[in-house]
Amino acid sequence: MHLLIQGCKRNDRDSQRLLYQHYYSYALSICIRYSRNTAEAKEVVNDGFMKVFGKIDQYNSDSSFKGWIRKIMINASIDQYRKELKHQQQSPVEFAHTVFTQPQAITNLSHEELIGLVQKLTPAYRVVFNLYVIDGYTHEEIGKILGISDGTSKSNLLKARENLRSMLEALNRISYEKVN
């Protein structure tokens, strides 16, 4: 890995390719949670890797490279969230109308399907849920990052959880109806 990083610092394309291949899956698993869909997540991953290659000189070898990449991917996702906020129509999504095409029990839901539920949250709920629950940020930190108050962050988390529960219940209900 050290050699790969050194190669990337020299802008060696082969080193960049190998590093990209090595961390692509990990990076996508982070960005996909913050994005609306896989296509958007792939764009964010590439934005993140552009920052990785551009700022690799700033990487401190004492710290974990994987952790450094994780931080960059989260920041890239938050940048995307901000862009999304500027361009989106400001209408909250009604989860009651969410349609699930594959009825299953919660225990049988794949990781991909669960991530799909997170993607269905509104951007504001999704970003707070990801930052707090998955990535371990505090409400204070989230407030600073997103420019919102701690209270708003807590409120968004509460609503995100409620929406996810609703989606899971709806999923189970459909599954139950199908079985019977």
Binding site: R82, H111, G147
Partner: protein, 394 residues
């Protein structure tokens, strides 16, 4: 169905996140490789149209200048030495135009008793005229542009012509007198030439002062992010020539800098998602310029120095994005921040000598902050191209 607790719900999604392993998509590397191969977006792209306009203006100026200058040289100076010789020959054939009235010469020719007095007068005239000849011979348009008065050429007489005049007037021991006059004249001329050359050398080497009036578009940005809109610079500078290659320059540049930063930025303790700034600044540069040797009227130079910013007015609008909306805050700060020697100036330019005193200049520059600037303490960088004139005042 039993309702999941917060902890159970979080654990479910955390496990999903950790367990999710999307496959590598080789096509994405192709996209990435293309992005890596592209040059980084820079301010220079936005410069191209302005640089082209500037180049056209500069080229037009050079073309007009060349045309005018050729006319001036032909009309006033005779241009080459051959033209000078031709001019002198013409003068020889024409009646002498001097301060001394023509009638005096006729009278002298008629009255030989007054010869000695007249010889004295003529000798004095010769000395004066020879000074003028010396001036003419060593005339340097760069040094003596002010002497390019058409009237001054009326006084220029060839040495031989004056000696002939002397012979006509005396009519006594013509050989001795002529030789004596020739020796004196040559000695005077040589001495004067040497003196003038010495003066010319001194003046050429140092103590020349120039004034420069320049204007430029200004593209400012924080941390070299892309510039959003164009500002302006109007400069009035004084330049002092230390020696034939080095000059120092200072003065004032009235600058309007406009910039926008479309990313998270900490500004006065707040975290904003976007910052738009418009600042009116008096820029006081202190630069050293090095001129590269040149045999033509074009010459190249490069400069380095430091600038101080007197922040006359700072207008900032910073935007914070909220859940479903964004909010903008504006602030104006007047005459608060003075930033002494915090900006590094780098520039390189080309100049064209339009007349002995006037140069056309074009000078691309980069100003980069060495420390935080203004109320926002931002690392502000500016690019531009100065276009203007340099005028020699001594």
């Amino acid at each position: 169905m039993k309702k999941l607790t917060d902890q159970e719900l979080d654990s479910l999604f955390k496990a999903a996140s950790e367990g999710y392993q999307p496959a590598f998509d080789a096509a994405e590397w192709e996209v990435m490789a293309n992005r890596l191969a592209q040059p980084k977006p820079s301010l220079w792209k936005k410069w191209i149209p302005y640089a082209l306009v500037g180049l056209i203006i500069f080229s037009s100026g050079v073309w007009i200048g060349t045309t005018l200058n050729l006319d001036l040289v032909n009309n006033k100076e005779g241009g080459s030495m051959q033209e000078k010789a031709l001019s002198l020959k013409n003068q020889k054939e024409q009646p002498i135009t001097d301060q001394q009235p023509k009638g005096d010469e006729t009278r002298i020719g008629e009255s030989k008793h007054n010869n000695e007095r007249v010889i004295g007068n003529v000798n004095r005239n010769l000395t004066d005229r020879n000074k003028e000849i010396a001036n003419h011979i060593i005339f340097d348009p760069e040094i003596d542009g002010k002497d390019k008065n058409p009237d001054s050429e009326k006084h220029i007489l060839p040495e031989k012509l004056q000696v002939d005049e002397f012979e006509i007037l005396t009519n006594e021991s013509p050989k001795d007198s002529t030789l004596h006059a020739n020796e004196e004249t040559k000695a005077d001329t040589t001495k004067l030439i040497a003196e003038e050359q010495e003066k010319k050398k001194d003046r050429r080497l140092s103590h020349l002062i120039f004034i420069r009036a320049l204007a430029s578009p200004d593209f400012s940005a924080i941390n070299f992010s892309s510039a959003s809109s164009m500002g302006s610079n109007y400069a009035f500078l004084l330049e002092y020539q230390i020696n034939s290659r080095l000059t120092i320059s200072t003065g004032a540049i009235r600058s309007m800098k406009k910039y926008s930063y479309d990313d998270e930025i900490t500004y006065s303790g707040h975290i904003a998602d976007q910052l738009d700034g418009t600042c009116r600044i008096i820029d006081i540069p202190l630069n050293v310029y090095y001129s590269f040797p040149s045999q033509s009227k074009f010459s190249f130079y490069t400069g380095v120095g430091l600038s101080s910013y007197i922040m006359q007015q700072e207008n900032y609008t910073y935007t914070v994005n909220y859940k479903y909306s964004s909010r903008s805050y504006s602030t104006q700060i007047d005459d608060k921040n003075n930033e002494w020697f915090k900006v590094l100036n780098l520039s390189a330019g080309v100049q064209y000598q339009l007349t002995p005193r006037i140069h056309l200049q074009t000078e691309p520059f980069l100003k980069t902050s060495l420390a935080g600037i203004g109320e926002g303490d931002v690392l502000l960088n500016s690019l531009g191209v100065f276009f203007g004139l340099k005028y020699k005042i001594n």
